[in-house]
Amino acid sequence: MKIKKLLTQLPFLMMSAGLAGLASTAVAADIKLGAAEALTGPAAKYGSAIKNGLTLAVEQINAKGGVNGNKLVLTVEDEQGKKEEAINAFKKLIFQDKVLVLFGPTLSNSAFAADPIANASKVVVFGTSNTADGISAIGPHVFRNSVMEADVLPVTTHAAVKHFGIKKVAVMYGNDDAFTKSGYDVFKATLAAQNIAVTSTETYAKGDVDFKAQLTKIKAGNPDAIVCSCLAEEAANIILQTRSLGMKQPFIGGNGFNSPKLFEIAKDAADNTVMGSPWSAENAAPANSAFMAAYKTKYNADPDQFAAQAYDAVYIVAEALKGIKLSGNLGQDRQALRMALPGVKFTGATGKFVFRRAPSTNGKEAGFDADQEAIVNIAKGGKFILLK
């Protein structure tokens, strides 16, 4: 009797053993990466460049056999540049797709809303384009390789002041976006520290298309340059309208200016704009040249800083993963990655990279920022070149 019972259960036993075998091989074969980026909406130019950078890196790594033999699988969700969608995208990637690590979101504004979710779920969220102040302070699972405005803007401003002999500036910024506001705060402190007078400070809201009133007011103050903490879409419109009012001042910009979209819209009107970035198209180092060539081949377009940082970010994560043995337990693996990331030293398209721990606030552990030098660029003839 007992043997008969055992025999009837045998197929079940064999099946489950087989399935277990299958299951364990499936977990070992794929490393799930998630990304929530703005693929549509006003921030789409940044988001699609980021997606391209991420995808290129994943493909290259997989072509070389993956990480420790495991292939990377990238799932990209569209967060449309909106806070609510970023939160939804994060939740889906973390709880439904069960990713190991999360890239994004595109805008700092969305990061303030969505990163706390990743942090609370103990999943590393890796920002490649968030430069506002305070994002890494969200928690120890927040990492970014995008250099903060606080690190870049003083360098940019100093170089611009020297280059143009600037004594006074007008300032313009968007007062309803975390990134532009953070940039403004840094600019304000920088200008004060460098003893540059501010003739007037004007604001606008995201989505505004008419800036003539603010610009006319700025014109009356006769500044030597206009400092703009803006996203690319508004920045381009502002530049165009400035020129149409007959103003010739150069612009000094933050990370938002770092996109070819600026030139698509503003074209030559944007000449003499100064901005800082850890990546430069003119950097002839082998890692960067290889990246640029591969990007051009795959996408038939030149990469920008957003693509470069996203590309490097994947490689940084891959470096960290090399030293980990994945157990198949999602919580454990996520923690292992979290512990391995800070120690990564990597040289990529954006040059030498290490993480820097952000100072803790109110006794709360903070995450990690990028520790990289900013290069100052100036716009000439529709692209950014090094400012010497």
């Binding site: 549509t40 604001t203 989505g207």
Partner: protein, 293 residues
């Protein structure tokens, strides 16, 4: 600086006024607050963009055609949505709610068809010339907006005051049932009004699209909000009110930015609106509603 700001205010105000013209026309004659006017405005802009991009039409022709297209869209909305509600004697607010649905649908449609990113007219389409008098810069497009807005308003007023058609429309505005009894072709004139109002909205869309060169499926929303404020300020249903109200809002916004603070732009503009309404609740030119025993 003041002169330049006045020019800025005039062109911004004319844009608001043009948008509000169509809006107020529908309210005046049909008694409906057409909240899809913003979506029609947006689609007018896209229509002009497509005509210029795909068919390489000259700008003036593209604008006229876009107006026609917008007008037909307005007609379609009236026939499919507003007319059935009229036939069933729907409660007062039902058409307004229905047009909210139409607006959402059209916006989503545009997003699906054209994508959510801002689109621009091809390089060279928009007249780039500007005139410089002393220290003031006026662009051709700004002049165009002011002239076209005022021109259309004058035409509308002339039709309303001096023609049989206008008289019929005014009769309907007062009481559709009485007008019907007097032999006025009420349904036909409702269609004509919807068509005309939508065409005006489309014209506004094209002009705004040219002016700021940023066409997106969401460009109608902020305009609609301002448009509602304008027609309430000017008196709902009154054409002069739409124009004066639009100019007033434009001036209030620009002057706030220029002399107070750009941060407080909307707060001051709408605060003033509120104050005016406190003094004259039915708007500047609105008819004071009396209760008839």
């Amino acid at each position: 600086m003041l002169e330049q700001q006045l020019i800025n205010a005039l062109s911004l105000g004319s844009v608001y006024a043009l948008f509000a013209l169509g809006f107020t026309l529908v309210f005046g004659v049909l008694g409906v607050i057409n909240l899809s006017h913003g979506a029609i405005f947006m689609l007018g802009s896209y229509a002009a963009l497509l005509l210029v991009e795909q068919l390489a039409l000259p700008l003036w022709l593209a604008m006229l055609t876009a107006m026609l297209a917008a007008g037909c869209l307005g007609l379609l909305i009236d026939f499919l949505v507003l007319r059935p509600l009229r036939k069933r004697n729907a409660p007062h607010l039902a058409p307004m709610i229905a047009t909210i649905g139409v607006a959402i649908m059209l916006t989503n449609l545009a997003q699906g068809l054209f994508g959510a990113a801002n689109q621009r007219f091809p390089v060279g389409t928009i007249p780039e010339d500007s005139f410089t008098v002393k220290d003031m810069h006026v662009t051709e497009v700004q002049i165009g907006i002011v002239l076209i807005s005022f021109g259309l308003m004058v035409m509308l007023l002339a039709v309303m005051r001096r023609t049989q058609l206008g008289r019929a429309l005014r009769a309907i505005a007062e009481s559709p049932k009485a007008a019907y009894l007097l032999g006025v072709n009420v349904e036909g004139l409702f269609f004509l009004t919807s068509f005309t109002a939508a065409a005006l909205g489309g014209a506004a869309g094209v002009l705004v699209g040219l002016s700021f060169n940023a066409i997106s499926p969401f460009m109608g929303q902020p305009m609609l909000h301002k448009g509602i404020a304008v027609i309430i300020l000017g008196g709902m249903g009154d054409i002069r009110g739409a124009l004066i109200g639009g100019l007033f809002l434009g001036f209030a916004e620009v002057m706030t930015i220029a002399y107070i603070s750009s941060d407080l732009r909307d707060a001051v503009a709408f605060g003033l609106l509120f104050l005016i309404l406190l003094v004259r609740p039915s708007g500047m030119f609105g008819k004071v509603l009396e209760r008839k025993a």
